[in-house]
């Protein structure tokens, strides 16, 4: 199990070169070196772009942990080959579905080695994902009890539910996933009035007055000229990035961007270049090279350059270095596309996202994108910015022409959540939620640090990845936590690098101090 003293032997690993950055920003930053955990602070004074301390941790594990991790994977792989061999020779039962007899001579749909990882490594710990729940995904939920008789090949439900499991997995940052009758009053009314479907696209007969109301509200909330909403957050990226850029444009995308951003960038046909995660030197070098040398081979100038970043990165818990990116973008005349899927509502003094968190103005960002799934407890996405941008998207976005618009009760949920956040419903509940989330985040992170666990990410981000490293721990951690009535999310390869498997906690404003304490205590007991 994790050894707290291991942390003291850990190597210090700064995720960005501090000295070089000093020269670039031309400010005197101090480097505190007394703390063994590799914290990095940007000074508050001397005119830096950061108005408050920006602390991020990305500690590297001690060497023996990495060795054991590789050994663990190697053992898993060897057993996998053994098992495959036994299955091929009929020594072991074949449980997977197979091709139809009539289609046996077709080209095989899947290559055997493609599924090797799925069959042999993922399958063993498959019971930790896709766990079905049967209640609202609030701070506590009810899980359906699921058992397997044949080592995870199939599952069956016993019919019992595990009640009141503490929920550390759902993206419920502000606690708007609730079933309180008063809170959902307007949603109930709108559902009765409008029904659940729309049956048409935005450009045809699918724009309802609810959409217009919602878009005005989103624009007011963010402090921009206009906004447009879409039915799915993933689709917002994959259908609008191709509308904004095309062949002859350059996309500079962060290493750890979400699949929807990568898909949108690929579908657009533009050239994509990747810069190291949150690394401003890497980004600046790419920008300079792009403008100086132009397009590859022809050396024509790029039509436009767009930088794709996220507000909070969901696997790392890091927050984008927005002030530096904005100054770079202004200097090199590039455009900035900010995906605030996790950060809207979750950071910032009043929940306006990373723009407010860094004290910047929304005019600095060209395209503000976000989703309503996480902090607002609904579904869908939005893009906001200047009126010209939104008008263009209304006419040229793939979603406006071919995809159904957002359903009215979901739109009403977003409206009521946003009004609550803005204080328009006459209460201070919104602000209270934001404050509570902030408090919970800081408390949780501080306590985990004190216990000696390796946590990634920014101190203010409600996404808390706790490193597990070894593949054996992934399954063990999740199962033990479930036995103790806590539902956690564990992630391994391929969503994360192979040696950095982690458990990811999502702190919510609805979590009480007791729930967090229960979790921390258990963590300490079991793994400390």
């Amino acid at each position: 199990m994790a050894n707290p003293s291991a942390v003291c032997n850990g190597h210090l690993h700064h995720h960005h070169h501090h000295q070089k950055q000093n020269n670039l920003l031309k400010c005197g930053l101090s480097k505190k070196n007394g703390i063994t955990k590799g914290m990095k602070k940007n000074g508050v004074s001397n005119g830096t772009p950061y108005k408050k301390t920006f602390i991020e941790h990305f500690e590297q594990a001690p060497m023996y942990v990495a060795v054991f991790t590789f050994v663990g994977f190697a053992v898993g792989t060897i057993f996998g080959y053994l098992r495959d061999f036994m299955r091929a020779w009929g020594l072991e039962k074949r449980n997977i579905a197979t091709e139809r007899a009539q289609q046996k001579d077709f080209v095989p749909l899947y290559q055997d080695f493609e599924n090797f990882y799925t069959r042999n490594l993922y399958l063993r710990i498959r019971d930790n994902w896709n766990r079905p729940i049967c209640s609202v995904p609030g701070p506590q939920f009810d899980l359906m009890e699921r058992v397997t008789d044949d080592y995870n090949w199939t599952f069956r439900f016993t019919g019992r539910t595990i009640k009141n499991v503490i929920n550390m997995g759902s993206y419920n940052y502000l606690g708007f996933a609730e079933t309180d009758v008063n809170a959902l009053k307007t949603v109930t009314i709108e559902l009765e009035k409008y029904g659940t479907g729309v049956c048409s696209t935005r450009q045809e007969m699918g724009t309802l007055d609810k959409h217009v109301e919602l878009e005005k509200l989103v624009a007011t909330f963010l402090g921009v000229e206009d906004a447009m909403v879409f039915g799915m957050g993933f689709a917002t990226n994959s259908m609008n990035i191709p509308a904004l850029v095309g062949k002859g444009c350059l996309i500079l995308s962060d290493e750890l961007n979400h699949t929807s951003l990568v898909l949108g960038a690929r579908l657009s046909g533009a050239t994509i270049r990747i810069f190291k995660h949150n690394n401003m030197q890497s980004l600046e070098k790419l920008l300079r090279d792009a403008i100086i040398y132009g397009q590859p081979r022809t050396h024509r100038a790029w039509r436009k350059i767009i930088i794709l970043v996220e507000g909070i990165y969901s696997m790392e818990g890091s927050i984008v270095r927005l002030p530096e990116i904005v100054s770079l973008k202004n200097k090199y005349k590039a455009y900035l596309y900010l995906d605030e899927a996790h950060s809207i509502g979750a950071v910032g003094a009043t929940g306006r996202g990373v723009v407010e968190y860094f004290g910047m103005s929304p005019d600095d960002i060209d395209v503000l994108m976000g989703t309503f799934t996480k902090s607002f407890g609904a579904a869908g996405g939005y893009i906001a910015g200047k009126k010209g941008l939104v008008d263009f998207l209304r006419t040229h976005s793939h979603s406006a022409v071919y995809a159904t618009s957002m359903c009215p009760p979901v739109a009403e949920q977003i409206i009521r959540a946003m009004k609550c956040l803005m204080g328009l419903d006459g209460t201070t509940q919104g602000l209270q939620r934001v404050r509570q989330l902030e408090k919970n985040t800081r408390y949780f992170r501080r306590k985990l640090h004190e216990m000696g666990f390796i946590i990634y990410g920014n101190d203010d981000s409600p996404v808390v990845p706790l490193l597990l490293y070894m593949p054996g721990k992934i399954g063990a951690f999740a199962r033990r936590m479930l036995e103790r009535n806590i539902g956690v999310v564990v992630v391994g390869f391929p969503a994360t690098p192979i040696t950095e498997s982690r458990a990811r906690f999502c702190v919510s404003a609805a979590h009480t101090r007791e729930m967090l304490d229960t979790l921390l205590l258990l963590n300490c007991e079991e793994f400390g």
């Binding site: 579905a97 001579d105 080209v107 749909l109 896709n130 079905p132 729940i133 049967c134 609202v136 995904p137 609030g138 997995g169 959902l184 949603v187 109930t188 009765e192 009035k193 029904g195 659940t196 479907g197 729309v198 049956c199 048409s200 696209t201 450009q203 045809e204 007969m205 724009t207 309802l208 039915g231 799915m232 957050g233 993933f234 994959s238 699949t259 929807s260 898909l263 579908l267 403008i291 790029w302 039509r303 767009i306 590039a334 989703t371 799934t373 579904a379 010209g388 941008l389 008008d391 263009f392 209304r394 006419t395 793939h398 071919y402 995809a403 159904t404 009760p409 949920q413 539902g487 999310v489």
Partner: protein
Amino acid sequence: MAAAGVGQQWVLVEMVQALYEAPAYHLILEGILILWIIRLLFSKTYKLQERSDLTLKEKEELIEEWQPEPLVPSVPKDHPALNYNIVSGPPTHIITVNGKECINFASFNFLGLLNNEKVKTAAQASLKKYGVGTCGPRGFYGTFDVHLELEERLAKFMRTEEAIIYSYGFATIASAIPAYSKRGDIVFVDEAACFAIQKGLQASRSNIKLFKHNDMADLERLLKEQETEDQKNPRKARVTRRFIVVEGLYMNTGDICPLPELIKLKYKYKVRIFLEESLSFGVLGEHGRGITEHFGINIDDIDLISANMENSLASIGGFCCGRSFIIDHQRLSGQGYCFSASLPPLLAAAAIEALNIMEDNPDIFQTLRTKCERMHKDLQGISGLKVVGESFSPALHLQLEESCGSRENDVKLLKRVVDYCMNSGIALTQARYLEKEEKCLPPPSIRVVITVEQTEQELDKAASLLKEAAQSVLN
């Protein structure tokens, strides 16, 4: 010493002697070589990269001078797609568009389930129990028991082994295709395939071969060509997957694909079939099971059926159904499934209830078909407009018989027809496309949608109004 000196001198003498005695060509060759070496020594060095030549000042100048295009081009105020029709209230049978009450001939509410009380009750119950959003993708506590129930029900309804649901209709086929077809694979797709299919194909990076709309001879020609290609390179052919992607009822043209012939081609050339049934699910077939029921084909012959729940089921989202062998793969490699939040439970509950209604009232499909045929007949003979689509298709197109030269003018003309109808109480819309992005852009048209809720008088009224509009605008 003296002997060495003599020896040296002697070597020199020998050398000079050798020079005199050497053949001429030898001397010439050596002379040329020496001249060449001298030239090379004194010429400028050949630079492989000019990059290292730019000075810092020049670089700064380049950066200074570069001007990007504006992020988006400005949109003219009279762009036909800029000003949306705003619907106040639910888009049901009687719809209030831009303040005017009309009969709805534009929303794909084929079975009239949008306003159904039972569906709404089910959704309300779900809302009370689960709230609105699911706050997570399927893998991370976003799987609710309603999702599992809906998947089971859909699989049972369609008589397949398994079904998988997506939270957005467009993302369904656009995520399903790239999950199976990768770079190097071959996909034969109909020219009139909808945009979602085109995006799925683009994301898959496979070789796309378009065949003429519903032309089986053209498809067979392409398949034969591929076969001869395969014989040249059998090793590659053994690992190249092939697919045919067709729609049950085409959105862009309103006609159906010849499925029995496709099945024959499938087994003859060993190609898998992916069928997109967004418009035909809940419309075709005796029980609404789609085009396979319409033609009486064994559903296992189709590898994958994909449909969206936004038309007949009047919900949001989409599903794929087929054998477990095929569908299960999407649970780990369907991008729209793994990386996106799951469908809100109230929408899943509404879809389950809608399925219940479909199963309990199988006669609505025949009613819908009768109405479609009636409308199709009524719309014949409008001067200037021709009807495009099968007689039993609930989504028809009205195209101009003669184009007036440019697409822009055609669109304007059709808009006048639509406005005339809207002012008189029939809500219609033009079919919208992204002109620059479509592979095969269909001609401009007016979309006419027939639903079970429309009465015969309303159908007749709409048809006569269209005749009037065409008369006044197009003549």
